[in-house]
Symmetry: C2
Subunit: 206 residues, 2 copies
DNA sequence: ATAAAAACTGGACGGCTGTACAATTTTTTA
DNA sequence: TAAAAAATTGTACAGCCGTCCAGTTTTTAT
């Protein structure tokens, strides 16, 4: 009655435990890799940089990831989860145009000030996708999620989602990227100035 | 009365002729390099790629340009001249909001359709400047010129140039970049659809 | 025409990169 | 506890890259 079945479930449990443990390790490695990538950028970060930055041996990276591209794509996926989650929770309690604009603005400004290096990496990877097609799926996935956030904001503000919502995202992204670029320069804006910028942009369609 | 003077002016004329000839060659090389960079991107274009693409020997590149970075920065400068010139002439005959919006829209759409590869390179270099400080001066110079174009459009439309004109540029750039990205994908928009997008954006502040 | 200067060539060199793998250590299983 | 599996290390390798340079050809000046 058992035997084979007991064995197979046991093996399955073992395999699951293995893969979950392996996934945890992959996540940990990816987090270290992101730290390195944030500082050096896609083009300038070698596997040795990542290994050194995370006290890992070089061979480890190839043991957990097929090749460099696979590792970086995995990293971008990890980045997405965190970023999208932050904005969804920020918008969660808002209702009506005023509250949504305020919550969205606060989330954008906080993200620019705290995570500028991370966004720099995102823009770097998004650009790489122009030239390296293997990055395109994950970049598209993230950009779809970002457009969904804009749709969510529109909905929470009480508006219908227009067909050109993607261009609302595009405009907002242009302002965000520009603000971030200058925030990393030698004349960063104050929190209040940044708030004004995004409130004005968001007011145009929220 | 002459002698020394005659000699020095002659030498000067010769030196000028030399440098102008040298500059012409540098431009020619840069144009070939841009062709290669447009297709492969900053990170994936080697000096050998450029040499092969332009029937030049490898040593030539180092003979005319100190190093790889100098060559690429020179290329970006060449790109700027052409792009900015195109838009200034496009806006030159326009007067009043309607004409300016129409001329600007037509220039943007034509540029997206014809020069998408070139813009891809521009966005690539602008991103590199995030991580490689040597690119920052030329990128800043170009972005200033682009903001000036927006200011010119505002002026031609009869408006005063607002202090936040840079953010008008940023919004427009966001839309432009997004449109370009999808234009290179598998579902490019028609010319009319693109015109609608930019007319709508430009109408917001022109 | 000849000597000097500039333009150009092709290859060599050292360094770095991603990848692969044999050897060792740690963990798990029976 | 002994054997098997997984995890981890360090190194070796093959290839590519930017840079440099000795030598050759072409252009310029007198």
């Amino acid at each position: 009655m058992n035997g084979m079945n007991e064995m197979s479930t046991k093996l399955k449990a073992r395999a699951d435990r293995m893969t979950s443990k392996r996934d945890a390790k992959k996540r940990q490695i990816a987090q270290s890799a992101i730290d390195a990538l944030k500082h050096l950028g896609y083009a300038n970060t070698t596997l040795r940089d990542i290994a050194a930055h995370s006290d890992l041996s070089l061979g480890m990276l190839h043991y957990y990831f097929e090749d460099r591209g696979t590792l970086i794509i995995y990293c971008v996926g990890i980045y997405k989860e965190a970023f999208v989650h932050d904005f969804r929770t920020a918008l969660n309690d808002a209702s009506g145009p005023e509250q949504v604009i305020e919550a969205f603005t606060q989330a954008l400004v906080a993200s620019i000030i705290d995570d500028d290096m991370t966004h720099r990496l995102w823009y770097d990877i998004r650009n790489q996708a122009f030239f390296d097609a293997t990055f395109r799926p994950v970049v598209d996935e993230i950009e779809t999620a970002l457009i969904d956030i804009v749709s969510l904001a529109l909905t929470k503000a009480g508006h219908a989602v227009p067909p050109n919502v993607a261009y609302h995202y595009a405009l907002l992204d242009g302002a965000f990227r520009y603000a971030m670029q200058h925030q990393m320069g030698d004349t960063p804006k104050t929190r209040g100035e940044l708030e004004d910028v995004f409130r004005r942009v968001l007011t145009q369609f929220l």
